[in-house]
Each structure stands twice: as C-alpha cells, then as structure tokens.
Symmetry: C2
Subunit: 211 residues, 2 copies
DNA sequence: TAGATTGTTAATCGATTAACAATC
DNA sequence: TAGATTGTTAATCGATTAACAATC
C-alpha cells in the first residue's frame, strides 16, 4: 500500500497525534497548523510535518490541517476503520481489567473470548463473557475469526500458548507476559512489560537529582 | 554520580538485560561473553558492550562478563537495591490488578496504599490493603514517605490528582491514564498508554502483509 | 496579490555498528 | 605465551531539525 517503509519511531507517535486531534475535534477546533500543534504537543513542527508527509499530503499551504480530516486519516492509517476480534488468555486480575475496559471496544477492538487454564475459573462471567478452558482455544479462534491474542498469563506458560496461537494463524499477540516471544515475522507482537516500565521509572528517580 | 548523561534509549534496554541475566543466573551460568548474549537477546554484541560501558567496565578481556556480578550491578543502576513506596490511585480493575501483582513487591516496590474517589469502594480490602478516600491522600503520602504514585484512574480526574501528588512532593508518577501529565522536571513520569500500544499493533497488522 | 504555512530537501544530531588496540 | 574478548575509537546509519521554495 505505502511506497516507503515507515519506521517504528513514526508509528509510535501516531496514536498520540490521534489522541490530540480527537480532543481538538471534540472541542470544535476546525483547523490547526503544525506550529500550533507543535506548541500543544511539545514536539517540533518540523517533526509533525515530516511524520504526516510519510503518508501523503494532508495539509494545505497557507491554511494548515483540517482537524477532522486529519483525525480520520490517521485513524485509517492505524487501522481503526476496521474491527479486530480479540481473545484474552489469562483471566486473572490483569486479564479481567482489560476485558472490562470499554474504551477498546469503542475503537473496534472487540473482546470475543476469555480463556484460563485454571478449571476453577471456567464458566465465570466477566462482562457477559464466560471464561473458557484452554482446550477450546484452537476451535474458538477459528470459529470466531480471532486476529489478536492477548497474553495475560505468567511467563511460564506463555511460550507454549504463543506457539498454539501462531499455529492457529493468529495475526498478532499483545504480550503482557514477562518474556520475549519467538514468533514468525508474519505475526506481530507488541510487548507491554510492566516491570520494565517500573524499573525505568526507578532508574530515573535515582538519576534525577543530579546536578 | 555518573559523569555523562545516559540516553533513554540505553535506559530502556537495561531492564531487558537485567531480565536475561537473572535467567542466566538462575540457570547457573557463571560467565557470558557479549557475543553469546548477543545471540541470545538478538541485539548486536557491539551494542551490549557500548551499553554496559556507559556505566564503567563490568567485563574482563578474554573472559567476558560474570553473570552474577553484572546482574547485581545492573540492578543497582536501576535502583533496585533500594525500596520504593507506592500508592495506587484508582482502585478499579487495573489498580487492583497492579496491587495484586506480587512481583513488584519482590523487586522492592512496596504498595502501601490504595485510593479511590468512589465512596462505595472505601474500606474494601485488596490484598490486606484498605481502599482509602481521596481526602486522606496528602496526609498518607507524607506519613508513609511515598515516592511513587500510580495513576489508574480515567483521564478526566487525572490532571488534578497529578497536581496534588506533585504538591505533596512525590518523586515519580507511573501514569496509566490516557493523557500527558504536566509536571515539573524534578518529577519523573513513566507513561503506560495501553490504547496507544494496541493501536500500534493494529497499524502493524495492517501493514505486515505488504510485499 | 500578499501572507501564511505546507511539503520537501539539506544539515545536523544522536544512536548503532564495525573495527581494532589493549589486556586478561 | 597465545587466544579470547573487552573497552573504546571511528565509521555508518537513521532520525530529527532547520531552511526554504512551492503553493494555497
């Protein structure tokens, strides 16, 4: 679709642009220049223009960018114009927290199933979704056309579950387990390593009080 | 303490080194060369040596790195040799999930308190920690020498709570709320924007099947 | 038309990788 | 000592910023 490969540095910034544009839109702002947006978001105007131009010209010289149009276009680039079907594997506190977070649904990320290895949890309802036993995993993925698997289980079982997901042809894994997954290039992985994040914070606390 | 400023790119990699070294240590591996570690972690040996040398020479020519020593040293660099006292603001699913995650405690991140604006939740126990009303926030931070505030509340109230935390002299905020906090430079912020992460995944799904 | 602001090229900066001398 | 591997400098690569011509 796109001619040039977009770097992950750019991709990482897109959701933030999307968020700011959504807020501007809600406030009824019609147009914005890269300079105004720069001031608001605390990034350089140059970077904003470079980033947007990776995907084609969204602006107009002398005018700036139309907020609503730009918002919609970035949404499309992020793939938010189509729905995704998710399953959560690991119905512990974190898995349930994600299952209960309605905002993902709003954006087209539909939570279709919830799985857990613990037989005690089987049948438990989390927001109208029953927790299913792991044996039903493969069948459920195929029957429901699941494209994203969310891994919210301890690291020990995660590699094996990841392999099962890959074998079923899952497209992407949102990985909260504290290990690096080994999957083919065709499967996208996005890691959320909470303890890594907390350690970074710890580092920055220690090193902030320097002269 | 350190002479040169360490870039956040390097800091971001430290927890991952720490994790791999911890695993090697547990497996009883005594020493490792940058080349072996390179193969294991899938980063260049050059980068590993550069990264470590930001903090001084941890290795020995012709030998490599002592796993246990390196593990300990990186732990110190990350500030894991001291304990941190946390409070969680927002006792919803996500706040409770974090409160229940024992691994943080293992690393010296002690969850001392849990706060919520909802009076219905006040008094509820989460792993022996009672949920407190927001009015007690300032007093509790000072009395318990809290250094990290965890924000697991919806974005609407987050800016106001962040201001209150800053006024109490909190050192750091671990921010799960979906907005950018405006705090002085002396206060460290680490953002975990789950929906940003999910959008990145969505982007990569859409753009993976290209030739 | 004149002014504003983009799209885009060029310059700079920083991070990563390669190379190799130092040294265990 | 010879071999291995670090620590560190130099080269490369990529990302960010600056500048400005194009154009609305």
């Amino acid at each position: 679709m796109e001619a040039k490969e977009i770097s992950q540095a750019v991709v990482s910034r897109l959701p933030r642009y999307f968020r700011y544009l959504g807020e501007l839109k809600d406030e009824g702002v019609e147009r914005i220049s890269s300079q105004e947006l720069s001031k608001l978001m605390r990034v350089t105007a140059s970077q904003i223009r470079q980033d947007f131009n990776n995907f084609g010209g969204f602006g107009q010289q002398g005018y700036g960018y139309n907020v609503e149009y730009l918002y919609t276009e970035i949404g499309k680039i992020l793939g938010l114009d189509q729905t995704h079907r998710l399953i959560i594997i690991g119905a512990g506190h974190l898995g349930q927290a994600i299952a209960n977070y309605m905002n993902f649904e709003r954006r087209g990320f539909l939570i279709k199933g919830l799985f857990d290895a613990d037989p005690e949890l089987a049948g438990k309802m989390v927001r109208q979704i029953p927790v299913r036993p792991m044996e039903e995993l493969e069948q459920f993925i195929q029957a429901n056309n699941i494209d994203i698997g969310v891994l919210t289980i301890p690291k020990d079982g995660a590699a094996a579950v990841s392999d099962r997901l890959v074998k079923c042809g899952i497209k992407a894994i949102w990985n909260f387990a504290h290990l690096d997954l080994d999957v083919p290039d065709s499967v996208q992985v996005e890691n959320v390593h909470l303890s890594d994040s907390l350690m970074k914070l710890s580092y920055n606390i220690r090193n902030s009080s320097e002269s």
